[in-house]
Symmetry: C2
Subunit: 427 residues, 2 copies
């Protein structure tokens, strides 16, 4: 099918990807004189900053995800397709999806397909150490986390039981820190009374960071604070610890073997593979080096926004891969299209750093703003309120607030349902 | 592992299955002088009467499911294992699970593993027409239901588009009726504004019932009322319609071909395959014919409760396979064990028919009580209130009430997230 056939009077803008960059680009085109097509391989936009809460059984998937077509339902110029984009032909200006079944020509393209996990050249680690980018990822992490205690409870061999009660998180960025702070807390408080043979508080969580310190995007003082917080919450933090091997029942740091049956991956990103069809140079992380207006140098009608774009902020420094940056970039790319259609010149992108927040655990967070930085209680409440406010949809805000209130006061976790492949391991 | 090894001082009761019968049996043994082991292949108890609401995107899975070990956390005499029971040896009095890794001996066994779908000798229909018994089933139905509109929106061939906009439900029992009443409503109200190329209100839902009337457990007058309600809601009801064949893009009634790409199965149950290990006669539906005390004739230490038990109510009439019956049977089996341990005789089971409720759609339900029957508005509110009250857990009750309020006033559906295998069909 040729999606654009019906109306060629107005220029057609195609957005690939319904994450923060793609969604906000679409919203910025609401009243633009264009026909807009949004393509995503999922039917929903995911509020990624709260994914770790699905992974740790606080929230249900549908509480942080909304159908993209529902979010854009009021935009009469917009159609949304659930489709798997296979390739892009920038010479013909066509996006091909669903194995050739869907062809979408464009006048302007905004590519916002983000990044996936990179396993440092070890793709065989992926099934052993799932990462956290999508709702399905979060559900898989939750499943493995909860299943480990079920297996430990059934286990008579103390060595194997200890392996089930050891979890390793690879990568000390925000996601790794959130998981490392939350898992011991859930084990100690929410799960403890439910088991008879194991003491879930004995869960050992090891956070492995290859670099010199965790949360390297923050000032050194806050990194150190976060590490102390994590250790207080019961996690072991090891910096300068490079993973050399992952097996079913162990992780290796150098030649040291850490026996464990649950590994989560929060290290390393690689740009979405669609970038390679643009025929432009990519940076070592597979991101597209965009021009100041966020377009692709050789293809001014193609913009890249969000995690897939490498945008220079200060000399030698890129705009970070965080939700506010993706929102700003998506909006800016869309506005540049509008400017051009009005006959105005495009504007260069300027990143407005609103500050950087990372949550570590109950009452523990760090916040780094351009003028000051804080940690602890206030930073944590600030994180909480901001994330409620930015969630899309009134219903989600209300329900997430209730789930958080429930978790805060009872120390319980509401979404502890394991589904899909619940059959226990039979090794 | 031999789970009972540690303490053989008190008799060990093993319950297989954490549905209504198993859960209420476990609860009735809370203060009994026994060691209790509960085995289930899922980690959660599912509130089955609301499964169709997960399938139709009103509720999230975790809102109607709770971990079994959490529900039983206050019972100090109880341990819960997530385990897949493979077989039972009633001579040795041992339950074998997890491919031989787990052996649980018992003094008393309560088998409460319920039933699965039966495809009338056509197991090849199962992947084409999923049923609705578990959370995973509900998520699969929701996925197919939502995906059909996504495919229709992308489709240029009007004939194929009509196939995507036709859904057939096989079986006119409560589940089939709930789905047939809900799907057209969701399509008309919640989804309509979100699509550009298709009119979701054109969804054709066909309910096929092999017998003479839908909801045969109700009086004829109420069946007729329910059929009128369904037709008002937009479903087509066909009785005396026996399915002879199901294909990827069609269902056959006799030799008539109904083109459609989405089929749901709500017809026919078969007892759990574990029943056959008891070595006693089963009825044609694979259920165990139990003695008046709910035990198995040749094995007085084995009880069967819930959907797997065939319990005579009146001559020629069995206790129906509904949640209140399962709760009563599970509780009764447990109490008979307690009686016996006290040296008292066992009591025969007497079913207390509290009435029969079926919901059809907004403001439409039927209720059949021993003394009177009603339909419409009041029956619907009654259904709503009762289901909120019987949900386990305060948090679930609160959140389900909010989700229902949201759905009631906005006509929206909150849980429209498609996950797992979202790649579009590529036939």
């Amino acid at each position: 099918m040729t999606a654009a056939a019906p109306s060629r009077a107005r220029p057609r803008v195609v957005i690939v990807g319904g994450g923060f960059a793609g969604l906000y680009a679409a919203r910025a085109l609401k009243r633009a004189p264009v026909d807009l097509t949004v393509l995503d391989r999922e039917n929903h936009h995911t509020f990624q900053p709260l994914l770790y809460q699905v992974a740790t059984a606080v929230l249900a998937p549908s509480e942080i995800a909304n159908p993209i077509r529902w979010l854009l339902r009021r935009q009469k110029n917009t159609e949304v397709f659930l489709a798997h984009v296979d390739r892009i032909d920038p010479a013909k200006r066509v996006v091909y999806a669903d194995g050739g079944k869907l062809e979408v020509p464009y006048d302007y393209l905004i590519l916002a397909t983000g990044s996936r996990h990179a396993y440092f050249g070890h793709p065989e680690w992926e099934p052993l150490a799932p990462g956290l980018k999508t709702i399905d990822d979060a559900r898989e992490i939750r499943r493995r986390f909860l299943l480990a205690f079920e297996e430990a409870e059934k286990c008579d061999d103390p060595a194997v039981r200890d392996e089930w009660l050891t979890m390793v998180i690879v990568g000390g960025g925000p996601t790794g820190v959130e998981l490392a702070g939350m898992l011991p807390d859930v084990a100690r408080r929410a799960l403890r009374r439910d088991f008879r043979r194991i003491d879930t508080a004995r869960l050992r969580v090891v956070l492995l960071e290859g670099g010199k310190r965790i949360l390297p995007a923050f000032p050194e003082k806050l990194s150190a604070h976060a590490q102390r917080d994590l250790e207080q919450l019961g996690a072991t933090v090891r910096t300068g610890a490079l993973v050399t091997r992952i097996e079913k029942d162990a992780v290796y740091v150098g030649s040291e073997r850490i026996p464990c049956r649950t590994v989560f991956w929060a290290a390393g990103n690689a740009g979405s593979p669609l970038a390679k069809f643009l025929g432009v140079p990519l940076d070592p992380m597979g991101r597209v080096k965009v021009a100041p207006d966020l377009s692709v140098p050789s293809h001014p009608e193609v913009f890249v926004a969000g995690d897939l774009a490498q945008v220079t902020w200060h000399p030698g420094l890129s705009v970070p891969g965080v939700a506010p940056a993706a929102i700003q970039e998506g909006t800016h790319a869309a506005k540049n299209i509008v400017r051009e259609l009005r006959g105005e010149p495009r504007a260069p992108f300027e990143y407005w750093n609103k500050g950087n927040l990372a949550t570590i655990g109950r009452h523990k967070a760090i916040a780094d703003f351009p003028w000051f930085s804080i940690s602890g209680y206030i930073a944590w409440w600030m994180w909480l309120v901001l994330h409620i406010l930015y969630l899309a949809g009134f219903r989600n805000r209300l329900i997430v607030a209730i789930e958080w209130g429930y978790a805060y006061f009872t120390y319980q976790r509401g979404a502890r349902v394991i589904t899909a492949h619940t059959e226990p391991e039979r090794d």
